[in-house]
């Protein structure tokens, strides 16, 4: 039952003939006409190190998490907003849109179906951006080690900066993880976005290996 990837292209993404108001027919190819397909590039920091350090301090101090719960671990992030943990103290906030977020937390198991969305969300964030894998499932599949539809190893598909172990890790562990991430950022070592751009073909190959119905451009701006 192996099928050609083109088999999975949705009808709305198929090239189609349309007739303009002037009666002239032409072809619309949605994947080409509606999506930008420029590849990502490696971005260098500011020319002056002191400026870059200053930026890194600000980046560390302003972690905006994309409000995207991929698995059951998302439930452990909610308490961070409560008075008990109050992650806002540490400059951590949640943003509902990928454009404004700079931290993607993969919160638990990631089915291939969600992986596709996670990739899209990650690529729509702007450089520099960070990925934190939450819980055993992101590390080695965890209890889903033999599942037919979850990935077992997140860093094959997205440039993970930090894993937080546990099944599930407690909110305290999350806070600790974020503090560790801040250290990485301040040290200028959280360059996942650049790693992603550098190893773009490798990541894409891995992604496409598990996502059979690849119906989007290689990079989602």
């Amino acid at each position: 039952m192996k099928r050609d990837p083109m088999h999975f292209i949705k009808p709305e993404l198929m090239p189609r003939k349309v007739k303009g108001p002037d009666g002239v027919e032409f072809e619309v190819e949605p994947l080409r006409d509606y999506f930008c397909d420029a590849p990502p590039t490696v971005q260098h920091g500011a020319y002056l190190k002191i400026v870059e350090d200053f930026f890194n301090w600000a980046r560390a101090q302003s972690l905006w998490i994309l409000g995207f719960g991929t698995g059951c671990g998302a439930i452990e992030m909610r308490p961070l907003m409560t008075p008990r943990f109050d992650a806002y103290r540490y400059g951590i906030q949640w943003r509902p849109t990928a454009r404004q977020a700079n931290l993607l937390v993969i919160s638990g198991y990631l089915s291939t179906k969600t992986l596709k969305r996670a990739i899209r969300a990650y690529e729509q964030m702007q450089n520099p951006k960070y990925v934190v894998g939450l819980g055993s499932c992101t590390i080695n599949g965890g209890m889903y080690w033999d599942s037919y539809n979850t990935i077992k190893c997140l860093d094959q598909y997205l440039p993970v900066d930090l894993y937080i172990t546990g099944c599930m890790p407690r909110p305290e562990a999350l806070l600790q993880g974020f503090e560790d991430l801040k250290k990485l950022i301040r040290a200028g070592q959280a360059e996942g976005a650049n790693r992603y751009a550098e190893n773009f073909t490798w990541y894409k190959a891995n992604q496409k290996q598990v996502i059979h119905d690849w119906d989007m451009p290689d990079y989602n701006w």
């Binding site: 619309v28 006409d33 930008c36 989602n220």
Partner: protein, 1060 residues
């Protein structure tokens, strides 16, 4: 007899020729129908020539009327005929109609042979006899002759639909005999009472007093021949079933002749019988028009219309006590309009094969015939420059002068209903698809009568203008310029466009010194603005038949409007611009119903204005109407209208003007009319035409100022109307899906603002109104052009079908962007000036509450403006629009000029306003502005447009450069590269949030946009139609019923007339 008369032929020859030719025809061999036809034509031509020659003599050579005595004895003992100016005119009319009808009837006559021709000749001769004779019994004889020959003609012509005409003719005969009995009995009684059969003798003997019943019988018999309501079913069947040319004769000639007979009888009856004639006339006028309203059969509709027109003339005859010397001018004006137009329309109907009104679409492709139809329609509805217009003006003024206001209202109501079905018909003719695409065969003998009527119509228009004595509209330069385009319509559009632009500009250069600063603003908008808008018309290819005459007619009307000094000129100009714009609007693809509602509201408004002027003229003390007979009312003397009439005059005029500015309640015509109009017409009718109504209001308010009615300050009421107009116009704009409708509703709102400014009645309020006038002209023209250009390219006006066009149509986008910023009043563009003056103006105002409504209206504008620009230019580009190009150059060019104008006006509003500000000091001495350098100061606040522009510009530019610098490497993405909750959009259609854009707002305030006004006017129209339909049940096609109608009519008339 004078020397001149010696050269003239005896009028008796008219009768003799008719009879003789008919007799001769009998001698011919039945097969020689060609010869017979020739003989008939010659005879008719000869019969027409004699009165024509006489008419010439009467008018230009000063001939005296002749009395013709038969048998050589004076009246009591022998029949006498009179031949004066009216007789000459009428016989000419009758005989010409007969001649042209004979030409038109060629097929039928040749087919039917000499008998039919003889009967036709006899009929025409008999009608001539009715006109000429002064003897009562002789009149009876001619009437009988006319009736019998009419019936004979109908019966003879019973060819194409056997049975129908037969029935009609039979019914006609039956009912006619009833009438004859009345007449004969009346004559016997009258002779018994007075001992004479001579009409003048009876009059001298005071028959009406001596033997009222005798007179009643004679009178009612003659009136019944006029087919008064309801005793007219029998006649209508004739109209419907006879050949059209014959119906023309029946309608035009018979009507004219019998009306003259009725006039003679009224001479006997004296003043006492005038009210009855009036009553019968007006009831017939209204009822027949109502009955015509639901008609779908063309000839029957024309029949009803004929009856109505005859009724109107009868009513005029009945008003001779107050009309005095003006009676012939009015009566003939109406009569010839009716006769020429109706005959023309009947002849025209010979060119249409099917009988439904919609089948007239077959004529729609023939400009000449359309022009003929339009001419006839204008004649019937009394539009300038035709005789009916002058007659209506005089009539209404006399009625108002004698305080017969109910009658006045009824006349105008009937005229409006008549306009309703005629213009609806015209709409069918132009806009409906011809059934099967067939056009009727256009043989010369069918065409000649139509063209003759057309020529006669325009000749009469000139004649009546000349007779009117003061202003001959056909001599007005702007109107002539517009009419010249009728002759030039064969030229390609771009040449005509150049001519039109040159004409407008040239006329402005010729006249600009004549205007005061306020009028100058209007003149600039009408003339220069019109020329600017016409630039967009260069985009049209081909010849664009009909566009330029209509457009230039509208501009001519507007120019004449601001040049008008007297009420008559003003009103004529008003009607001209209305008609011109109607033809313009009608050109839109789906504009038929909207154009109709436009013209009806406009005519309704115009009639209110007419009534207002008439009442004002009556109430201005110094005018002695009876002495002058001329009803010249200067616009300035509106100020002198005396107290009880003044507020009513104000009210009538204000409502009349407000129908043009589309104040709430009478606004329903606007959205459709403006939205459905062509791309370059929308800016004309919205940006320019709407200002005519404002101009009218300005003239009115300047002259009359504040008026009180039952303790209500009318300007205060106007404030409320204006505020509600602004609010509801804006609100309704919010919920439109159609971009042009949105703009149209927005215009309603904007006009509300301008009206509000005027109604404030203070210096700054007026200045604000003028700012709105200027601004609205610029940005609404620009927006309509931009949206029209987009609609042209995308093939739709529905905004949700567009989207994302900014990259494809950047110039249009800029125009719309500038337009909406200006319209919304956001600094630094010119709309802010209007808002600033508004706030200063209301500081001076006593009234507060209406301002609340206006405050609410303000931000609502943002809603529809954002929607306009967003749903068209931003958001998601659709599949099929991906290759759309920028709008055509000639549509974009004026937009860019408007952008420049807006910026200039934003920077230096003083350029346009300073003069007006100073000028307004004359009327409102307090509260003017101070202009020092860039700064404008009122007594409350200040602003400096240049400083604002610089400050905003500097901040904006700085930030923009900064953003460009820090974002210099931004990746340009495509339209689906949006964060879509980690998904991707499905299709542009489902991603473009545009349809029902303000759904929550509808939930909250949608209840305010219930179509109350639309429902109200819909109910009024339904009511009229239902009334007409009910009336139709009277006419069941049964001869007995018709006879009964006649009896009932006579009895009712008897009780009402004699009982009183």
């Amino acid at each position: 007899m004078s020397g001149v008369d010696g050269l003239l032929l005896s009028p008796l020859l008219i009768l003799a020729t008719g009879l003789g030719a008919a007799f001769l025809l009998g001698l011919l061999h039945p097969r020689q129908s060609g010869v017979a036809y020739g003989l008939t034509l010659v005879a008719l031509a000869w019969m027409a020539w004699i009165p024509a020659r006489w008419l010439w003599a009467f008018v230009l050579q000063g001939a005296a009327p002749v009395e013709i005595l038969t048998a050589g004895t004076p009246p009591p003992f022998a029949i006498n005929l009179r031949f004066g100016l009216p007789e000459a005119a009428l016989t000419l009319l009758v005989n010409l109609t007969g001649l042209l009808s004979a030409i038109h009837l060629k097929d039928v006559l040749l087919n039917q042979g000499r008998r039919a021709m003889a009967v036709l000749l006899v009929a025409v001769m008999a009608l001539g006899g009715i006109i000429l004779t002064r003897d009562m019994f002789n009149l009876f004889v001619f009437l009988e002759l006319a009736v019998i020959s009419t019936a004979g003609l109908v019966l003879l012509s019973d060819t194409h639909r056997p049975g129908l005409a037969l029935g009609a003719g039979f019914k006609y005969l039956v009912v006619s005999q009833f009438i004859s009995v009345f007449l004969l009995v009346g004559i016997i009684f009258a002779y018994h009472a007075t001992g004479t059969l001579n009409i003048d003798g009876m009059a001298e003997a005071g028959l009406a007093n001596v033997a009222a019943l005798a007179f009643f019988l004679m009178f009612i018999a003659v009136v019944s021949e006029l087919k008064p309501f309801p005793a007219n079913g029998w006649a209508l069947d004739i109209y419907e079933s006879a050949p059209p040319a014959f119906s023309a004769l029946f309608s035009a000639a018979t009507g004219a002749a019998v009306l003259y007979a009725a006039d003679k009888l009224l001479l006997i009856g004296g003043d006492a019988w005038l009210p009855m004639a009036t009553a019968i006339g007006i009831v017939t006028f209204i009822a027949a028009n109502l009955l015509a309203l639901p008609q779908t059969h063309d000839r029957r509709l024309l029949g009803y219309s004929s009856v109505a027109q005859t009724g109107l003339v009868l009513m005029v005859l009945g008003q001779r006590d107050i009309l005095g010397e003006a009676t012939p001018f009015i009566a003939f004006g109406l009569l010839v309009s009716h006769a020429v137009a109706k005959a023309g329309l009947y002849w025209l109907s010979g060119l249409v094969q099917e009988r439904r009104l919609t089948d007239w679409a077959a004529l729609g492709r023939r400009p000449l015939l359309v022009f003929a139809f339009a001419t006839f329609m204008a004649m019937l509805t009394g539009l300038p420059p035709f005789p009916g217009f002058y007659a209506k003006w005089e009539l209404v003024h006399h009625l108002a002068g004698a305080d017969r206001l109910v009658l006045l209202a009824l006349v105008l109501l009937g005229a409006l209903i008549e306009a309703g079905y005629l213009f609806r018909w015209f709409g069918y003719l132009l806009k409906r698809e011809a059934p099967g695409g067939e056009t009727a065969p256009c043989t010369p003998h069918k065409l000649v009568p139509v063209l003759a009527a057309l020529a006669a119509g325009w000749a009469l228009a000139w004649l009546w203008g000349d007779l009117f004595g003061r202003v001959n509209l056909l001599l007005a330069l702007p109107l002539l310029f517009a009419l010249a385009f009728l002759l030039l319509d064969w030229l390609p559009a771009w040449i005509k466009n150049t001519l039109a632009i040159a004409g407008l500009v040239a006329y402005f250069i010729m006249t600009w010194g004549e205007y005061d600063p306020m009028r100058l603003i209007f003149a600039i908008i009408f003339l220069i603005g019109g020329a600017l808008t016409l630039l967009a018309s260069y985009h049209a290819h081909g010849r664009r038949i009909g566009f330029y005459p209509a457009a230039m007619l509208m501009y001519a009307g507007m120019v004449m409007l601001i040049q008008a000094t007297s009420a008559f000129e003003f009103f004529a100009a008003w009607e001209l611009l209305t008609v011109g714009s109607y033809f313009l609007i009608l050109r839109g693809k789906a504009s038929e119903p909207h154009a109709l509602s436009y013209i009806l509201f406009s005519l309704g408004g115009a009639f209110l204005i007419l009534a207002g002027f008439a009442i004002a003229a009556a109430a201005v003390p110094r005018l002695d109407l009876a002495a002058t007979g001329a009803l010249q009312l200067d616009l300035a003397s509106l100020a002198q209208v005396a107290a009880p009439a003044a507020p009513w005059v104000f009210l009538l005029l204000a409502i009349g003007f407000m129908t043009k500015t589309a104040a709430i309640g009478v606004h329903i015509w606007l959205p459709g009319a403006h939205a459905e109009a062509e791309t370059d017409v929308s800016p004309m009718v919205s940006g320019i035409l709407l200002k005519a109504g404002l101009y009218g209001l300005m003239v009115l308010l300047l002259a009359m100022g504040k008026q009180q009615l039952h303790g209500v300050e009318l300007t205060h009421a106007l404030l409320w109307v204006a505020a509600l107009t602004a609010l509801l116009g804006n609100l309704m704009a919010v919920f439109q899906e159609d971009a042009k409708r949105l703009l149209a509703y927005s215009s309603i709102g904007q006009m509300g603002y301008a009206m509000f400014g005027l109604a404030l009645m203070n210096h700054l309020g007026w200045l604000m109104a003028l700012v709105f006038v200027i601004n609205h002209y610029i940005y609404k023209s620009m927006l309509f052009l931009a949206v029209g250009g987009v609609a042209k390219r995308t093939g739709t006006r529905e905004m949700y079908r567009m989207g994302g066009l900014i990259r494809l149509m950047p110039l249009s986008f800029i125009a719309v962007l500038i337009g909406i910023i200006a319209l919304s009043g956001v600094p630094p563009l010119s709309g802010f000036g209007g808002r600033w003056i508004f706030y200063n103006a209301i500081m001076d105002s006593e009234t507060r509450l209406p301002i609340v409504v206006l405050f609410l209206a303000g931000p609502v504008a943002f809603l529809y403006l954002f929607r306009l620009i967003y749903t068209i230019f931003l958001g998601q580009l659709k599949d099929e629009l991906r290759r759309v190009k920028e709008a055509p150059f000639w549509i974009v060019l004026p937009q860019m000029i408007y952008v420049a104008l807006l910026l200039v006006f934003a920077l230096v509003p003083g350029l346009a306003l300073r003069q007006v500000d100073a000028y307004l000091d004359r009327f409102f001495p307090d509260g003017g502005l101070r202009w020092e350098g860039g700064q404008i100061t009122s007594q409350y606040g200040y602003w400096d447009p240049i400083a604002i522009m610089i400050v905003v510009g500097v901040i904006f530019t700085t930030l923009f450069l900064w953003l460009l610098f820090v974002n210099r490497r931004a990746q340009m993405v495509k339209q689906f590269n949006i964060v879509f909750s980690a998904e991707r959009p499905y299709r542009p259609e489902t991603t473009h949030f545009a349809w029902n854009f303000f759904a929550p707002y509808r939930k909250a305030l949608g209840f305010l946009t219930q179509p109350l006004a639309t429902n109200f006017w819909g109910a009024v129209t339904d009511l009229l139609h239902t009334a007409g339909d009910l009336g139709r049940r009277l006419y069941d096609g049964n001869g007995q019923t018709y006879a009964f109608h006649l009896l009932a009519f006579v009895i009712i008339a008897f009780f009402i007339g004699m009982g009183a």
